[in-house]
Symmetry: C2
Subunit: 1000 residues, 2 copies
């Protein structure tokens, strides 16, 4: 192993590497900026069609990352190494890995991973998809395909690599933290920069003068506008950067309120957008000069011919080679393939044997067995002229018939006669021969690719409307038996090559035939089957945990995610300083699971100072990997410890005021405003839900504190800990245990199947929180559309429904919604209906998922939609009734009564003296008996109550209709009979809408 | 020749070079700063005793250098490469030259020169001595030994190298300007940065909002103070840098007035000073951690033994090897050596043959011929006891005499008797043997070095009070005949090695013996004798000029300077675009002479498009040198052209308002204030000097415009053109020719022997200007002390004196001074006397220089000091009188009259009736005749008048004293005689103070 590079040696190596690879070497910017991205060499240069390859160091200033020099790798100034490759060179990951090798990072000794990361910088209207690159668990690089900057769509797309130099050097030099990095052979990073870390941290957190900085911001903003007006984009951009830094300092000082924040962000975005648009315009006026320098495009390589159709059934293998897919996208793609491939085959008339679908982060594979040499023949019936027109009186075919036959290429004598749509026609039976298998497959293969959808897709090829995918597709493997089945897609031509693990082999592997694929990859350690990877990880993790007398708490979600992050899982055991166990366990667990995807090791429910991580690669050379991961968790825990220590300086209630700085929604105010609304609404709901005095008091206190932890450092850092920290800090502050519990539980259920609050206090606060959100967000016009639900309104509504169902709370949500509406800072009356409908939709989903018949659900929701618990009861009971053998007569009886009623009449009492027939009187008596039975219920009648009561009237109804003509000529008699029947109909009011049922 | 490096390639090469040479590689700073020096990695890190070696790129922002991208090498942002070596590594110039070689600059093909440059940055309280390094006439690097930063004296001294990357790359790549530099192989510098140049230039010059920036400045200053108060030096320094940049922008916008400028500068200096002092303190508290990393000092090498004394007379050679001396220091050192070496030899009793003194920028050499093997013997007379005490009554020596003899190591019988100071003593004649020559020479050699003084000296060795010299001494050559005569000085041990031209040989040369020195260096092309170099340059220049049918206007000053800048002069002819000849010729001449030290080529008084430059080195490979120099002059002329074009947008009178932004002196106001005072004073002086109406009008108009050109771009850029541009622009503006001439001439004489104004108008304005300065500056307490005369008061006073002498103006300056005092914005009455005395001192100097006898000058000044012209007349006439054979009797006669007079009596008329003797009456008659003769003069009587008249009274005076006893017993008679004699004495009043004369 070569001696580790010094800090400056590493920079020099990168400069040389990227310079040799065609990058212009640029310099750090002369403003305090938060990232190399903000340097105009990135933020502006990537705009427009010109090619641009650049690399530079950027000492990046992030005031709120200041840790007074005490954290091993979190600093108010860290050194980024920034690379832009525009357009995508086609192999940016390989280039990147080669640059790591130049730094001395031997991929064989480490675990290098591409972990999904979707980058977004709203302040400059920019976003992109890509990864964090992890080196032994440590994020060392941000790797992004820029899609948009300054609100301008990038074409071509730019690849951005942002190396975190401190972290890389900590790993390379195997030191404990940034201070110990050798900057040169003689001088450490700490000797160079520690005083600056300490002083700037103190300045940003404690000393910066808020009023003065606010003025500074305003001046810079105004000066930017002045420059912009004069068409001076670069000076304007400089001032925008000054605004951005000043804002960051203000924010770190905790000085940015809701209104200001919105103003700041809006201003900055608008400014950068104008600069960006102006920039493209200026480049256009210059004639995009760098375009000229671009290389002539390589001449198109002709696509090879298709193979001859095989003689026997063959297996077809399609492998889509991709850059690392997000775990969720991988799972989604596999599910889609399982569904779509058979459908596509059927559509193309290809019978087939077993279809196997596999996937890893780097590949999606489909193996279709026993495909016949040709498509099935197609037989189509084509309608011709009517019989009358097709044959003359003599029964000879007319010209019309002959023309039709000719057109269909059949002999006129082959025309057949058929009854179609109630008429008689001649038809032609047209047969289409099945095309050869290769021809069909090369249509199916691209269709498979076309059919895949992802939550977020990205472009990487030139052309603003070029194809999009989860991540770039880098190779296509297409084998029919042993023959290559070439097709073109996404700028690639499908061939017979696949790739093994990144770490093991840089060269592609040839696959001799479709059936050899699985074995070949297994031989090269790629485990294609996700379930196998899960099993492998779970088993190893248990074994490793047992080795330290611990165990792994089951977590299927984490297991599934981890299994989808690797191609060759190797679990390993890491250790951390037991002192960290003094931190709240949920914090440790969250750090391990959420931030690092580690499996915590527990014993008797308590954490042990160990974790199980998973390497992507073989079991050899684990030492550095373990060491690296242990370093990461130490830094992570140190940071958590810093936050908890920070937070411990104040008691939870004191944090509440800090909520004023967190925006809930621009028009709906801060989280403090929301928190106050929740508290009031909790009071009203407590009455509605019938909480006793003690419960009510607990609920009110919990509501008061429920959101306070959002202002703590720990939760600001890890949102997943909201509620959990609230509980911890509430207990620390001496709040009653029930209050603490309610604070945590008010977020429950966390997901669709999540645990529900154990006590009414938490439930009530949670409901208040959700109803407030729903009504408020609808009131300001925010409605989820399609996949977009930025405020999580669906989840919020679902949570409210689940709370009532799970708590078996019999309450109509409309009352709560109205109460919530009255508390909003904006007019919210119209929103109540909208929110109620939205809740009904969620409830519908829940009931359908629970297996109730569609019409049963609708019958229940039609009347009781506002009260989930009762609606579910209704559906439950109705389901039993509709399953009964005698259900249809029951329904018929009710339907007969209802159907004859004219719309819109009010229910009036029938007058017994107007009854003419006994059947009328009999029905009246039976009806009154049923009414009495229902009225005897202490609670509002349920479905069982109603139907049981109604059943009593059925014989009378039957007789009534047998004996009585409702529509008597005497208007008074007629009206009286209708009144009697309406009295039957309204029996169902408030319980069911039977008209929604099948057979009504 | 290797292919030229790209811009980024050059940076990479420097990073590698300096990294390999122990420098920490640092990054550009995240603020807009004007130079790498401002980066805290220089400005703060050089403070305190710690070693610090660092190198980095600094894209430096200088708003007023913005040229909209139109100048070949002047930019609002240029890239510096900054290197700090602290302590001085001993060979920084060699290191630097090696770094140039790494860039591909072959010293054999170029002319690389170290041209004196004294760097000062008052805004941060910093200064140092060093050079501009010239590559073929182009400044490519600033090379400075920092002496002080932030008001803190550096110990150890830091060497700062600041490469100008654009200029280096323009030369390396042989392109026309910055736009054409290849940044990479594919992309030019212009493609990268031209739009930024254009936009930022426009922003700085036209768009920046003055009021807003002023507020910005105030905010940053206040925030700096806040940070400072909290001990946060680095944040405070950042804000100081923001202040500095903001100030620069304001200045470029032309928005900084007098008061503000003073405030700005004072504030910034104070701020940086506090940061600097605090920084040292903080480092001290940390225990100066980098000191520990310092290498142990090399063990001391013992000084070799001295050679045996020679048997015969020998020559001694001392060569002081230095880094390039400023031309003036070289001349001064040679003069000092010529004076001091003989004195030192005499003092040490060393007879000698010829002493030869030579020098080049890199060496001072003294060759002393025929030194004897030993010092001359010393004979000393030591006084012993008085004769009385030395011998007893018997004439035998006493104990005192014996003791004295023993003490002086002589035999008592060898004591002699001598008369001394009017007493009789015994004395011992003590003989000290001469010490051997080597022993004496090793004392003389350091004394020679110690004796040298320079206008400004610098330290380079550790220790705040270490030795100082013009530039560092790098080697000492000391040979007695062929023997090395070692001694230690300035950390060096003298040896037998010298060095040849930098370009030719990197290795030292051994000198076999003293007498071989001249020939050896001549063989290596070093021309030791300045006169020879001057002659060589002058001859070649004439020849080259003749080749293009032109000639060189004689300029001894330039010739002497150039000859002192080279060791091996080679003149070459360069050419420039004749279009530039449209610029005013004084501009072109000034650029060539002042900025480039070129000899302009003229024909019939008009410039030709050629110049003669001088290379330091041989005549081979001149092509690149000529090309480089031609490039430089093109850029220089382009810049001059830019300024003249700028200026042409307004007429001269319009620039006058701009003087309000130039400070004359803080309390005395702006140059506009001064200009207004000059105008008023000119009016008063015109009357005093008797100008006629037309002359007066011309003078007033000229006074109005005299300073206006100081606000023009051309003069701001080249102060040497003040007055000259005023004349040019006045003519352009349609002012009368006499006014234009007076504007130029009011600065005359430019130096001690300079030309005087041709017309009274210019003289009057010039006098007004000077009297205003003198009175004003004394009024605010500014008095030149020792060598320090920052406002040039001595030159100003001398100029005033020369004006009156040259113009033969008979006027008493006191009147003018009083008028000037009345116009000052501060109380100036006391300053008039001070200024008058100061003028008399200058006048004394002038008269002494003109050869008048000391006592004659004093006799004239004693009475007529206020009127230089009359004082000179007096001295002139008196000189003739005192040379006469009969002078002493004349003087005696006058003296007899005067000496007897008691002090303080008023002159009263004698009363003839009180005369007792004829001799009294006779003298009275003679005296009245003399008085009548003097009174008959139309002008105030001169010396000739007075003495001619007095001569008439001499016989009467003689008789008077022969016959009369002045001190008669009768008080009335006595008083009357004294009154008569006083009447004689006052004859000289207003003409001479004869009492100052020798023999009085």
């Amino acid at each position: 192993m070569m001696a580790a590079l010094s800090f400056q040696g590493a920079i020099l190596a990168l400069q040389r590497f990227w310079g040799d690879h065609g990058c212009l070497i640029w310099q750090p910017y002369n403003q305090q900026i938060g990232a190399g991205t903000m340097n105009p060499a990135t933020a502006l240069r990537v705009l427009g069609p010109e090619p641009w390859n650049v690399a530079y160091v950027e000492p990046s200033i992030r005031p709120d990352d200041g840790r007074y020099g005490e954290n091993p790798n979190r600093l108010q100034q860290h050194y980024q190494y920034q690379v832009i490759l525009q357009p995508d060179p086609g192999d940016p990951q390989e280039l990147y890995l080669r640059s790591l090798a130049v730094l001395g990072i031997d991929a064989a000794l480490h675990d290098i991973r591409f972990v999904e990361d979707n980058w977004e910088q709203p302040a400059i209207g920019a976003w992109g998809l890509g990864w964090e690159v992890w080196l032994d668990g440590q994020e060392i690089t941000q790797f992004t395909y820029f899609q948009q900057v300054g609100g301008v769509t990038l074409d071509p797309v730019a690849v951005e690599l942002t190396y975190g130099l401190e972290r890389i050097l900590i790993a390379l030099q195997r030191v404990k933290g940034f201070c110990d990095i050798q900057w040169t052979d003689d001088i450490t990073y700490g000797e160079v920069n520690l005083p600056a870390e300490q002083q700037h941290s103190r300045y940003y957190f404690e000393v910066a003068d808020v009023e003065r900085l606010r003025s500074l911001y305003d001046l810079c903003q105004a000066e930017a506008a002045t420059a912009l007006q004069a068409g001076l984009l670069l000076p304007a951009y400089d001032y925008a950067l000054k605004c951005s830094h000043t804002f960051n300092v203000l924010d770190t000082r905790g000085a940015v309120g809701v209104t200001e924040r919105a103003r700041f962000f809006g201003d900055m975005r608008a400014l950068v957008r104008q600069v960006a648009q102006g920039y493209v315009e200026q480049r256009r006026e210059l004639g995009f000069p760098l375009l000229a320098a671009e290389q002539a495009e390589a001449p198109a390589v002709p696509v090879p011919d298709l193979p001859q159709p095989p003689a026997d059934p063959q297996a077809y293998l399609l492998e889509i080679g991709v850059e690392e897919l997000p775990a969720g996208d991988l799972a989604g793609a596999l599910a889609q393939l399982r569904e779509q491939v058979p459908a596509l085959l059927a559509e193309r008339r290809l019978p087939h044997g077993e279809i196997r679908v596999w996937g890893t982060p780097r590949r999606l594979a489909v193996l279709i067995e026993e495909l016949p040499p040709r498509q099935r023949q197609l037989e189509k019936v084509v309608r011709g002229p009517s019989l009358r027109d097709a044959f003359d009186a003599e029964g000879n075919p007319t010209r019309a018939a002959k023309g039709f036959a000719r057109g269909q290429r059949v002999h006129v004598s082959d025309l057949k006669r058929r009854e179609l749509d109630g008429g008689a026609y001649v038809v032609a039976i047209v047969r289409e021969e099945g095309r050869p298998l290769p021809e069909v497959l090369v249509e199916i293969a691209p269709a498979i690719l076309d059919g895949l959808r992802f939550e977020r897709s990205m472009r990487w090829l030139p052309g603003a409307d070029s194809m999009a995918f989860s991540r770039p597709i880098r190779w296509l493997l297409s084998l029919l038996g042993s023959a290559r089945l070439p097709f073109e897609y996404a700028g690639l031509t499908a061939g017979r090559e696949t790739r093994a693990l990144r770490a093991a082999h840089a060269q592609p592997l040839e696959v001799p035939e479709a059936s050899a694929y699985v074995a070949l990859l297994a031989q090269h350690r790629v485990m294609l089957e996700p379930a196998e990877r899960r099993e492998c990880i779970a088993t190893d993790a248990r074994r490793l945990a047992a080795g330290v007398e611990g165990e792994i708490a089951p977590d299927d979600e984490l297991l599934a995610e981890v299994a989808n992050l690797v191609e060759c899982p190797t679990a390993f055991l890491g250790e951390f300083d037991p002192d960290f166990l003094q931190l709240p366990q949920p914090v440790l667990t969250a750090v391990m699971k959420k931030q690092q995807r580690y499996f915590p090791v527990v014993k008797d429910g308590a954490l042990l100072p160990f974790f199980v991580g998973v390497r992507n690669g073989a079991a050899e050379n684990l030492e550095l990997v373990v060491e690296g991961n242990e370093h990461v968790i130490r830094a992570r825990f140190a940071d958590a410890s810093y936050f908890v220590r920070q937070d411990s300086q104040r008691a939870l209630p004191e944090f509440r005021a800090g909520l004023s700085r967190l925006v809930f929604q621009e028009q709906l105010g801060s989280m403090l405003d929301k928190s106050e609304r929740i508290e009031k609404l909790t009071g009203e709901l407590a009455a509605l839900l019938g909480l006793d005095a003690a419960e009510g008091e607990t609920a009110l206190r919990a509501a008061h504190l429920a959101k306070a932890d959002l202002a703590t450092s720990m939760v600001v850092e890890m949102t997943a800990l909201q509620g959990v920290m609230g509980r911890e800090y509430a207990l620390d502050a001496g709040e009653p245990a029930e209050v603490a519990r309610a604070i945590e539980e008010h977020y429950w259920p966390l997901g669709a199947g999540g645990q529900l609050p154990q006590a009414l206090a938490g439930l009530t606060v949670g409901l208040a929180d959700r109803l407030d959100s729903l009504v408020g967000l609808f009131a300001v016009g925010l409605t989820p559309t399609g996949a977009a639900d930025p405020f999580g309104q669906r989840r919020t509504a679902l949570g409210a429904v689940q709370l009532l169902l799970g708590g078996q709370i019999d309450v109509d949500l409309r009352a709560g919604l109205h109460a919530a509406a009255a508390l909003q800072p904006v007019g919210a009356d119209n929103a109540v209906e909208q929110a109620a409908d939205f809740l009904v939709q969620r409830l519908r989903g829940v009931l359908r998922e629970r297996g109730y018949r569609h019409d049963v659900v609708e019958a229940a929701l039609g009347v009781q939609g506002g009260n989930p618990w009762r609606a579910q009861q209704a559906a439950e009971q109705l389901s039993v009734w509709v399953a009964r053998a005698d259900w249809q007569p029951t329904l018929d009886a009710f339907a007969r009564c209802v159907r004859i009623l004219p719309d819109g009449d009010a229910a009036v009492a029938p007058e017994p003296e107007l009854f003419r027939e006994d059947a009328e009187r009999e029905l009246w008596v039976a009806l009154q008996a049923a009414e009495s039975a229902l009225a005897a219920q202490s609670e509002p009648p349920g479905v069982d109550d109603f139907l049981s009561a109604f059943t009593l009237t059925i014989p009378a109804i039957t007789r009534f209709f047998d004996a009585v003509l409702v529509m008597d000529d005497d208007a008074a008699v007629r009206a009286n009979r209708l009144a009697l029947l309406r009295r039957v109909a309204v029996l169902a009011d408030g319980t069911l809408d039977l008209s929604k049922l099948e057979g009504f």
